[in-house]
Subunit: 331 residues, 4 copies
């Protein structure tokens, strides 16, 4: 149950209500909100005098649910907005920051192609200790320089809680990677900030758990959360993961958060990325996250799935008419 309190209730009283209702206290734009466990479905007589409005939620998806707020939230990154009715945002760039030359080449290309947000990883959540682990803080510095030089917004990934503050400081969008979706150290740091957060679905997590992870950030007071579907793990291994577009349809129907699709990590092979990107745009998603690299064969990570610039440009051109066909514009 999400409870909007009346204005002007003092802090001591709110603390009492929190205790009585086992609630979490949230403040959005000056509104005092209590969120109780969803099992609680009605307000007692002692609490009622302080209540302005009440929203009953079926499950512990509450602040993110359409039961609480039917219209989609908007997350603004400078002048780029996720969650508007008629725009789909392209984010692109290499898997990893590899060198200043590489990242400059990408940035220049993106600016020329009209892409506003660049992705690139510094802290790589690799599965083997014996492969490239990312440029780490040095990579963050390069991203900060590239942003200033090219006027791009930056989305980059946080891998664990030890460097979350550094990423929050540098990034325009903090990407919480699939393997970190359950990391409460990260979720807590993000919830205490006002930076936009792109939360990737863990490949082993249900839609319910995915949105509940977003709920940790929201309930800490940060409303700037974007959901990203990037493929789940199934028995099918011809492709790296299985992009769950049924899940995207579900998220559109039952949550109020902007939704982004990452086809690159889903299929894991460049050949299928354009078709899947087109599918996502036809569904009316709020953004795409695509891996592109000046020379994918030489990439230090995820070589098989990154598009080269020629492939990316062709994809980009094909998306505009599809976006238009569903009443949207690619930006």
């Amino acid at each position: 149950m999400v409870i909007h309190l009346k204005k002007g209730i003092d802090d001591g009283l709110i603390s009492e209500l929190v205790r009585e209702l086992s609630a979490v206290r949230v403040r959005f734009n000056g509104t005092q909100i209590l969120v109780t466990p969803s099992a609680i479905k009605n307000v007692s007589a002692t609490v009622e005098p302080y209540v302005d409005e009440v929203f009953i939620c079926n499950t512990d998806i509450q602040l993110a649910s359409t039961e609480y707020r039917p219209e989609r939230r908007q997350v603004a990154v400078g002048d780029v907005v996720f969650g508007s009715q008629n725009q789909t945002v392209m984010m692109a760039g290499p898997c990893s920051v590899e060198s200043e030359d590489q990242i400059n080449a990408v940035a220049e290309y993106l600016v020329n192609t009209g892409v506003r947000i660049m992705r690139a990883g510094c802290f790589k959540p690799r599965t083997s200790p014996y492969s490239f682990q990312g440029l780490r803080y040095e990579g963050l510095d390069l991203l900060a320089k590239v942003r200033d030089r090219f006027g791009l917004y930056i989305i980059t990934e946080v891998k664990d809680a030890t460097h979350v503050d550094a990423v929050i400081e540098v990034a325009d969008i903090v990407q919480v990677g699939a393997k970190a979706m359950y990391d409460h150290g990260i979720l807590t740091a993000c919830s205490n900030s006002q930076k936009p957060v792109l939360l990737k679905r863990s490949f082993g997590s249900t839609l319910q758990e995915f949105v509940q992870a977003a709920e940790f950030i929201l309930s800490g007071g940060n409303e700037q959360v974007i959901l990203c579907e990037r493929g789940i793990r199934t028995f099918e291994h011809k492709t790296r993961f299985t992009l769950d577009l049924c899940g995207v349809a579900y998220l559109k129907q039952y949550t109020n958060l902007p939704i982004v699709v990452d086809p690159s990590h889903a299929i894991g092979f460049a050949y299928g990325v354009p078709d899947l990107a087109r599918a996502a745009v036809a569904m009316g998603v709020d953004g795409l996250l695509i891996e592109a690299h000046p020379n994918p064969r030489l990439a230090l990570s995820d070589a098989s799935q990154q598009l080269d610039f020629q492939q990316f440009s062709a994809l980009s051109r094909s998306l505009s008419p599809i976006a238009k066909a569903v009443g949207r514009q690619m930006i």
Copy 2:
């Protein structure tokens, strides 16, 4: 290895070659073909004199592979063609034939909407013995009447080998359902016919197994095979299945068979069917299979996932501009 034999080799000699190579003998349009296990990668000196052309395949996906035949096969159902470069075929109708009135209402609606192929099941592969099992042969008779009266082509499902001949006789396209994908009684009967076959992927089968099931039909001499992705079973249960569009991208890349998508069975809920249908069309698939019913709430099976006529018409209108955006036309 697929071996095209030279013309004019006599039957006795071919039989010897079959034995020597542990091969399956296939005849397509007068060409004599031997298909050996894919582990065999070269032709011996004794066999070579009879060989016209050889195609090496990596796996036991052979006749269906782009290694054998790079261009997409075309399957014609009267004047409707699956697998052309620029058409996407709509097939629609109720889950089950329930009565003559119901099926006539659907047929009339489809004709008015421009749909050429009607789907409707007679033999229902239900999971419980205590629910509606379909009208069976009576349903087949109704479908035959509807076809004659309305000029629609009919696709209907075969559930097991005991009624496969009856379905082959009546249907314009024989649908081999997901639960029957491994049924060799059905696959063999289909391979001995020249009727178009729409083979649905079992929700528990890999892409490799799926195409190998098609290979059973092809290697029996029937080239009229259409693949249909309809969702696989994953850990995610908010939706009934998970539509595997990564798999569709794979099938487009590595096989030569026309590809159809069934979003209705994939998600299992009407709310998501239009978005998923739009996604499939944006990927350039060869057809859609959509459940539509005059009054879904009263449907005897799959009530939750069938579109009503108003929803179907709205979907239909939205598909044309997307098809056009990817160089296709809905028919």
Copy 3:
């Protein structure tokens, strides 16, 4: 709802009740039974006079449920009983009947080792048309001879409905393979017989669907059904399938059918079969199905997972003390 009718109600009246209740009519040992859809939870006043006893079931698992019948059913194959409190039955043999010599060698070995039931397949549900498909009817003849000569009981697999009658005639236990679990042609033929049926769980099916497939056989009037867990398909591919022993615990708790485990097909590699067989015996299952072959490396199918005789004998010796530790005896 399972309804036991009073004795002496005439057939015409029963047919009326069947219609009124949308019920399936079953006869077990002279008791007239009606099974309604599980959604029906009570008996109307018009029906009540004819009712002897009523069992409410939560789901369409009814005749197989402990709600209907709490004690485990017993399935007798000659003097070997599945489902007793204190015996675990070993079934062993090669994946396929390959030749008379091979099958005689196995039979002789099994008799010497004290195994009473031999498994061997004739109709192989292969995934590729270009590999060994089994000796088919010739294999059935060899099994019939081996049974007579060595006094073993035979379990062999039916692949599709075209040969189900032949298998029912020859086998002592009809094995419905994992890929045929949904085959209503087979299920119907089995339900019309009184032969014991070992129903394997499809690797893509839920426990609910698995037991509902058994319900098709039971509701046709054949109570001789044994469930077999043989591994489900998951994202883990280091092993061929994932043996679902949580599922076995569930089946023991909620169903009344004897339960057998097949570790060979689950893991797909001989190295793990003994450990998994020991695990199953420690859980108190009613039987094991193990692949053993005189020379696994030369096997025409499933070469990697079959035990040689030395390995099988070592396994066999290790099982007795475990069975004893859980109050059972291996037979």
Copy 4:
């Protein structure tokens, strides 16, 4: 490739070799070790003079592989040893520390039952922000007191990198939970310590990724790693997860780390825990992790799966004869 260097090579030279081979440097008991990416399969002439011994590994499972070290490693927790040939260690206790009374009651019971290691969580990785999150540091203090008072060893879970140092300080075994398996902040902290670490398999991770996570700890210099299988996520939802005992067989065959099974989290229901625990012991695992609570119905987390003391005692009695049947002893 794992390279044991000759004794007495100076640090500067080792650093050069590390760079040349893109290797990770590890020190185990005074032996200098370089681990290269597994793709490197041989040693160049310039490196050879410094090499004592070389182990080629097929994949990036290297230090944990039987290719490197065929015998099972032993991890000692005081006088309790995981990985011996003939002992299986019981660890038991409640899901969460809830109060001093509760944890004292459990400790007293465990001591009386002969259990040496108590489990109990302080930092709970809950999926909802609106449910009990654990007593956190207060819980750690209670565990420290209980250990001193009752002489039990303590295993407790670390949830994220923000409190990993506190857990390492208090725990006798640091449990890295399933949702934290990929957390490099935690893995790094554990690798820099010499505390025994029980690493739980993420329910969405493959066996390869699981052991590679262990490889992060090993390659940092901490050899005290225990693997714990606790169920993976599959399409089957009648049970909470699917215990992967095929995976346990694989880990026994291909890795050198002690293996523990947690049946409580796997099935999620108390009814199946004893059978699954018996199965694991019959497979010869090195330990069990079982949830037990004085009054499961009142538990603040995981109420459905915790055994009460009576159930636990019955289970405990049943395990000894099975352990004996496979040449082991429960401790």
